[in-house]
Amino acid sequence: MRRYLGRIVFVAAAAAFVLVMVVLFQRSSAPGEPPGKTLGVVVYGQDLERWRSLELGISQACTELSLEKPVLSVRTAQSLPASEDQLERIHREVKAGVGGLLVAVGDSEALREELDEMALATPMVLVETGTGGTLPTLGADDEAMGRRLAGRLHEEGHTGGIVLLKAAQQRRSAALRYEGFTSEAERLGLSFTQVDLDGPEEAYYGLRDDMAAQKPTAVVALENDTLELAGSLGVGGVYICGIGSSGRVIDLLDRGQIDEVCYQNEFALGYLATLQLAAQMDLAPAAEETGVDYRLVTRDILYTPEVERLVFPIIQ
């Protein structure tokens, strides 16, 4: 045995070397190919244009990570309640075999338990608004944005006659913004009236009549849809401000139909959320936790280089 020990050691060493080389070669081959896991993006609402900046941010991250760019899923089935429709779309994405999901939740309460359960099998990151459950959420500081708006009203001298448009607060972000605004408004001694909006069309006509009757000095809308609504009222002489990020909101701002917008950087939101999701899917290293910024934009500064780069996506 001793006589053959040298040969055995040599053969073992040669075999180990060949094995290691084969493994290393296989690992190093085709490094740039996409990993084969896809992402799904399910958002609330039916206006794709509303999510343009978010989509661009997701696209940027996917390019960097060599991932397939996902198609945003918006509401299609009008027969179902919005939350049920969104849940169904989420299930569809999971069934289609996506490796992870970005979800802009339309109804935090209704989707919380279901999403918490689904997240056990499918990595998930919530954007813009959370559910109050266990899932990671990325978005601007909603309470801070609400407080900031209240502050701006106070700075502009609008201390009374303020109408606060309140939609059905199904999203947690809306609730937090409302909380932030109302607490700061109370602190600053702002007097405001809350108007509850029950639905899109009825809300529009009803609201217009309300505005005509009440003659407010300022109208505050804490969500994108309600801000678009407020901006399209065409009520003159009223300081309209709110929180929004869609192209329509910016357009209304440009036309002078909205006076001030608290703009959440949804491009950064999409980008960072994708990195976070990719880290959960083990497709990227763990991303540093960075908050999403927001900025107050008025018509005067809309076309300054700093602001226009933020609010106008470079798409043709």
Partner: protein
């Protein structure tokens, strides 16, 4: 340093302890591996350097191509601006000529890349534009960058950085990113010329497309800045604007055309810079150093694999060669070890290179000689023993004993007690000296005593038929000799010479010390013998010479004594027989002289 020396010493000691096969294998393998690795490293370094140069060159070409495309882009813009100015505005009187439709036509011709064309008065009033004709209400264009820069640089065209067009009332709600080319123009109104500003807005997507199509794969990228370092295009510009990533654009603005090396945020990278003509924009190509490793791809692994495989092959070949060389040496070594262990019949392996073969043959020859010598020694020892045994046997000659005992009986029966006692005493003394307690070597004096006892017995038996004369040098009595050498000579003399004598036989025993040794002569005045007979007594075997019969007696006495003396003391010593017919015979014993130590028990 001391520890290094100790380590080297240890290594050297270990090295010396190894077998020749291990030494050859290890040394050649080490040398080959070192050369192989050095060569691989040098070639790899050359290759990577060459690859690096190639990559940089390729990127330079890419940047040059992009520069050409950018120049073409800006040239087109200038072309459109020149067309609008020289074909439409310059020759028109704005009071009478409507230039909108011409502008519209020009716009349509270039609408793939053009966003709008507009002409303003010095005060910012819109003169004409295409495709949109209504300016944004309340907008003061004179405050916009393109307007002020055009007024600053009267003789030149001014290219803006990309921005969102903010000029017209656009019901579609689109906000277009454009690059503006503005210039001062002369507007004619009713013969009077007044300055104005011509603005050509080109879609930014055209510029963006040049760069997105020009981006190679991998981690490197290309971006565009103006001469102040402001980003015009960057593949991650929105991330930069959002503050999520950073770029070293401001530093890049200071680089000259060519290749530069920099470290930005801990990442080393190569920068290729190229200025474009007219605009002063700079194209910056960034190649992270890691890109070179990625481009190498599997090359490092391949090199490692080849070197590893070569090392394995070298190890295999060297071990085979060293085994081939060392095997005959090992076999020879095993044979020598067997010899060392006493196996004289071990086979000496002869093989391998001619030096090893020669070594084997030499060892074989030495072993053969050794065996032969040992056989000789064994033979000598056997002869000695045989001779001693023969001598003893001769001494204990049954005839001598029977006759002597007979004589003693006769004497006792004849009541010659005195003679009987004398004979018995002499016989006892004779045998006592013969045995000598097992000693081989006794003093000459004792040997002479022994001879004396023998003669005494024989004299009685032969009724004084002869007489004995002795002449012994006392100096020799204490010297040593092997025993039982004189008595056989006396026996021969008595049996062959004295038997036929009638009272006048004389046996003379003489002993003297000479320079070359001790001489003891036993002479008789008997019948003597021929020279041939005398010569044959010592040389020939037991058979007498032809024509002469066997004499009485043991016949082996003289030869036995002669052999024993030569065996013990060597060839120069022994017996010499001198004889003359009818005169007598003298047998001379030659022994070594002093200093000779008496060997008390055992052979000298």
């Amino acid at each position: 340093m001391k520890q290094v020396r100790l380590l080297l010493d240890k290594v050297r000691r270990q090295y010396r302890r190894q077998s020749i096969q291990v030494l050859i294998s290890l040394t050649f393998t080490l040398a080959a591996v070192v050369c192989l690795v050095a060569m691989a490293l040098i070639l790899y370094a050359q290759f990577t350097s060459s690859l690096r140069s190639t990559i940089l060159k390729e990127n330079q070409q890419l940047v040059s191509q992009i520069a050409l495309n950018v120049e073409s882009y800006t040239r087109n813009m200038r072309g459109v601006s020149d067309s609008v100015y020289y074909s439409v505005i310059k020759n028109a009187d704005l009071d009478t000529d409507a230039i909108d439709s011409q502008m519209e036509l020009l716009y349509e011709a270039h609408k793939d890349s053009l966003v709008s064309v507009a002409c303003y008065t010095e005060g910012g009033e819109l003169v004409a534009s295409a495709p949109l004709s209504v300016g944004k209400p309340g907008l003061d264009v004179t405050a916009q960058d393109w307007f002020t820069k055009a007024q600053d640089k009267i003789e030149n065209n001014h290219f803006s950085t990309p921005h969102v067009q903010n000029l017209f009332e656009d019901q579609s709600g689109r906000h277009r990113w454009v690059v503006s080319l503005s210039r001062m123009v002369e507007l004619s109104r009713g013969g009077a010329v007044a300055p104005g500003v011509l603005l050509v807005d080109v879609s930014y997507s055209g510029l963006e497309r040049i760069f997105t199509e020009g981006q190679g794969g991998g981690e490197g990228y290309v971006y565009l800045i103006d001469k102040n370092g402001e980003i015009i295009y960057h593949p991650k510009q929105r991330l930069i604007y959002s503050g999520l990533v950073a770029e070293n654009n401001l530093t890049a603005a200071s680089y000259a055309d060519g290749i530069h090396e920099e470290t930005f945020e801990g990442v080393g990278r190569q920068i290729v810079v190229k200025d474009t003509g007219y605009t002063g924009w700079r194209i910056i190509c960034v190649i992270p150093n890691s890109e070179f490793s990625v481009t190498l791809g599997q090359m490092p692994l391949l090199v490692v694999a080849i070197v590893g495989f070569a090392i394995l092959l070298i190890v295999l070949v060297n071990s085979q060669i060293s085994s081939l060389v060392a095997r005959p040496i090992k076999r020879l070594d095993r044979s020598v070890r067997a010899l060392e262990a006493g196996q004289l019949d071990a086979e000496i392996t002869i093989g391998g290179s001619h030096e090893i073969e020669h070594l084997g043959r030499t060892i074989q020859s030495t072993v053969d000689q050794m065996r032969s010598l040992m056989d000789d020694v064994v033979r000598e020892q056997e002869q000695k023993r045989k001779s001693e045994f023969d001598a003893l046997q001769a001494q204990i000659n049954p005839h001598f004993l029977y006759n002597t005992l007979d004589s003693i009986v006769w004497m006792i029966e004849s009541e010659e007690y005195k003679e009987a006692i004398s004979m018995v005493t002499a016989l006892a003394s004779l045998f006592r000296i013969s045995l000598s307690k097992g000693r081989d070597v006794i003093s000459i004096g004792t040997e002479l005593q022994h001879a004396g006892y023998y003669l005494h017995i024989q004299n009685i038996r032969y009724k004084n038929k002869f007489r004995v004369e002795t002449d012994i040098d006392p100096a020799i009595e204490d010297l040593t000799t092997i025993k039982l050498i004189i008595q056989p000579l006396l026996e021969n003399a008595i049996y062959h010479a004295m038997e036929l004598m009638d009272g006048d036989g004389v046996i003379t025993v003489r002993g003297r010390l000479a320079e070359d040794g001790v001489y003891i002569e036993v002479a008789d005045n008997g019948l003597g013998m021929t020279e041939a007979m005398a010569a044959s007594l010592l040389a020939a075997p037991a058979e007498p010479p032809p024509g002469e019969g066997r004499k009485k007696g043991s016949g082996i006495g003289l030869r036995n004594v002669h052999q024993r003396i030569r065996l013990y003391y060597g060839a120069p010593y022994g017996l010499r027989v001198d004889s003359e017919l009818d005169v007598g015979t003298t047998v001379t014993i030659h022994l070594p002289g002093p200093p000779a130590e008496a060997s008390e028990g055992g052979t000298p």
